[in-house]
């Protein structure tokens, strides 16, 4: 093992799986060994049983679908607003001067703290859930996109100018393609955060969704269900992250070449 030395894909996968095995082993040891009370932490088998019941008897699939729809919906709305704004800010300094201070401020407003306010404004319907995610994601995306667009290599911009590109051409044919991979990476990151916001939104004032199931199970002391819910979130996150990464790698092959 030397710094930055690559490892084979096989060992990478094996090592990755190994840690999951260790984690589950530790968990089994703590629960089956009787070191932790069943009330506080269910063992892996109970968790799977509870999960199965949730899926087959209590319509948990529907909750999963609702939550996914909220995350994706809020995230897409935020991206549609934030990506063009971020590009405009990065490209045109007056727009940056106008918006940057406010966006930097707004990005530190915790989305979860908006939940009570949004319930007052938008009720406890879907609009409120989408808004929580929107608020949590939009400012982050704007800022990160603006930063990467500002940092575009100047010599590439100058080369495009000497090839006859106008301002419009610079934005469309240099700034956007040059930063597309960074923008995609930003979106992938923020999608991960959106999962946190949706659960918070569903813990308060919701009647469906994974977060709602979790808060319900707390009242029933069903820790198996809670853990199953958390793991489902993790697995969906892992899948969407993997899909996003593969898509980026396919779209931006020039980066890896």
């Amino acid at each position: 093992m030397h710094p930055l030395e690559p490892i084979s894909p096989r060992s990478r996968v094996l090592l990755g799986i190994l840690f999951f095995v260790l984690f589950i082993a530790g968990w089994s040891f703590a629960t089956f060994g009787g070191f932790v009370s069943k009330t506080f932490l269910a063992d892996p088998l109970t968790m799977l049983q509870d999960g199965w019941l949730l899926l087959t008897k209590q319509g948990f699939l529907w909750d999963i679908a609702i939550t996914v729809w909220r995350v994706v919906g809020g995230f897409i709305l935020a991206s549609l607003v934030a990506v063009p704004l971020g590009i405009a800010m990065g490209a045109y300094k007056p727009i940056e001067a106008l918006l940057e201070p406010f966006v930097s401020f707004a990005r530190y407003l915790p989305a979860s703290a908006f939940v009570p306010l949004l319930i007052l404004w938008a009720g406890i319907g879907e609009t409120q859930k989408l808004l929580v995610i929107f608020i949590g994601a939009v400012f982050q995306i704007i800022l990160m996109v603006a930063v990467s667009v500002s940092a575009t290599r100047r010599d590439l911009v100058e080369a495009a100018y000497t090839l006859g590109a106008g301002d419009n051409g610079i934005v469309r044919r240099v700034l956007i393609p040059a930063n597309a991979p960074d923008v995609a990476e930003t979106l992938r990151l923020v999608l991960g955060w959106a999962w946190t916001y949706v659960i918070v939104a569903e813990l308060i004032g919701a009647s469906s969704g994974i977060g709602y199931m979790i808060i319900n199970s707390q009242a029933l002391l069903a820790t198996g269900q809670i853990i199953f819910g958390i793991i489902v979130i993790g697995v969906i996150g892992l899948i969407s992250d993997f899909a996003f990464k593969s898509l980026n790698r396919w779209l931006f092959a020039w980066r890896l070449a």
């Binding site: 100058e158 080369a159 090839l163 006859g164 040059a178 931006f252 980066r255």
Partner: protein, 264 residues
């Protein structure tokens, strides 16, 4: 003034404001220079004497502090497709294939598809990159990238071609081949070229006139005609006329190089 003069610089100077409260840098003393149509002019000078600054002003990427540059009587106010540039650093667009890189300017001009690809492919041939059309820039060596950059600039058919030490980072052999390649293209196509370099042999071999510059603050020190006939073959570098020119220019540049090295 004869009609043939294409590019005219009058009293062009550039002073960069001081960095963090320091002294302003006088990069270029007021300079006059006239370049004729289809002339190939080398600009030779020690590092830091303002060669890139001069070229960037002609390209319209930088503004002169005083003076004006006119191209065919039009004052230059910004960059444009009529002045193609090959930069000192590698500036291919990494997200475009070699073919799309060469096509960049033509697409911006709105040249019809078929004609565009004909031009692009002919220049890819001329710089010897057939077979690499669909590679990304990263997959090419430095020399191949600079050849692509030259093709990209010429395919756009600029009135004047500006080259800023395009072969500076290449090894000697590759450099020699690239000089012949560029000279061959120039001999066939006839173009106005300004070629910046700090290599004396390269300056003579390529040009019909060599302009030398003083150490910073840069200004023109001398202009030397190169009466070697075209087409030039690399063996011309061994001829007595060539050696004579080299000796003359070496002496002129030597003092400046010492100046530049001791006073930064």
């Amino acid at each position: 003034m004869p009609d043939n003069s294409e590019l005219v610089m009058k009293g062009v100077s550039r002073i960069f404001p001081g960095v963090r409260g320091g002294q302003p840098t006088e990069a270029l003393r007021p300079t006059d220079l006239t370049i004729e149509r289809n002339d190939f002019v080398s600009i030779l000078g020690p590092s830091g004497c303002g060669k890139s600054t001069l070229l960037r002003i002609v390209a319209g990427l930088d503004r002169p502090t005083t003076g004006t540059v006119t191209l065919e009587g039009q004052v230059i106010r910004g960059p444009g497709a009529d002045r193609g540039m090959v930069f000192q650093s590698y500036t291919l667009f990494p997200w475009l294939t070699i073919r799309d890189n060469v096509a960049f300017g033509l697409r911006e001009k709105g040249v019809p598809e078929r004609q565009k690809w004909e031009i692009v492919d002919s220049y890819i041939d001329k710089v010897g990159l057939r077979g690499f059309e669909n590679h990304w820039p990263k997959q090419l060596s430095g020399g191949m990238q600079q050849r692509t950059a030259i093709a990209r600039a010429i395919a756009n058919n600029p009135k004047i071609l500006l080259l800023d030490e395009p072969f500076g980072a290449l090894d000697n052999q590759t450099r020699g081949l690239m000089q012949e390649l560029l000279l061959g293209i120039w001999e066939r196509e006839q173009k106005t070229v300004i070629f910046v370099t700090h290599d004396i042999e390269e300056a003579i071999f390529m040009a019909s006139r060599v302009v030398t510059m003083t150490a910073r603050p840069g200004r023109i020190k001398s202009i030397t005609q190169v009466p070697l006939p075209h087409p030039r073959h690399y063996t011309v570098k061994a001829s007595p006329e060539f050696s004579e020119l080299r000796l003359k220019l070496t002496e002129e540049i030597r003092g400046e190089a010492i100046e530049a090295a001791t006073h930064g």
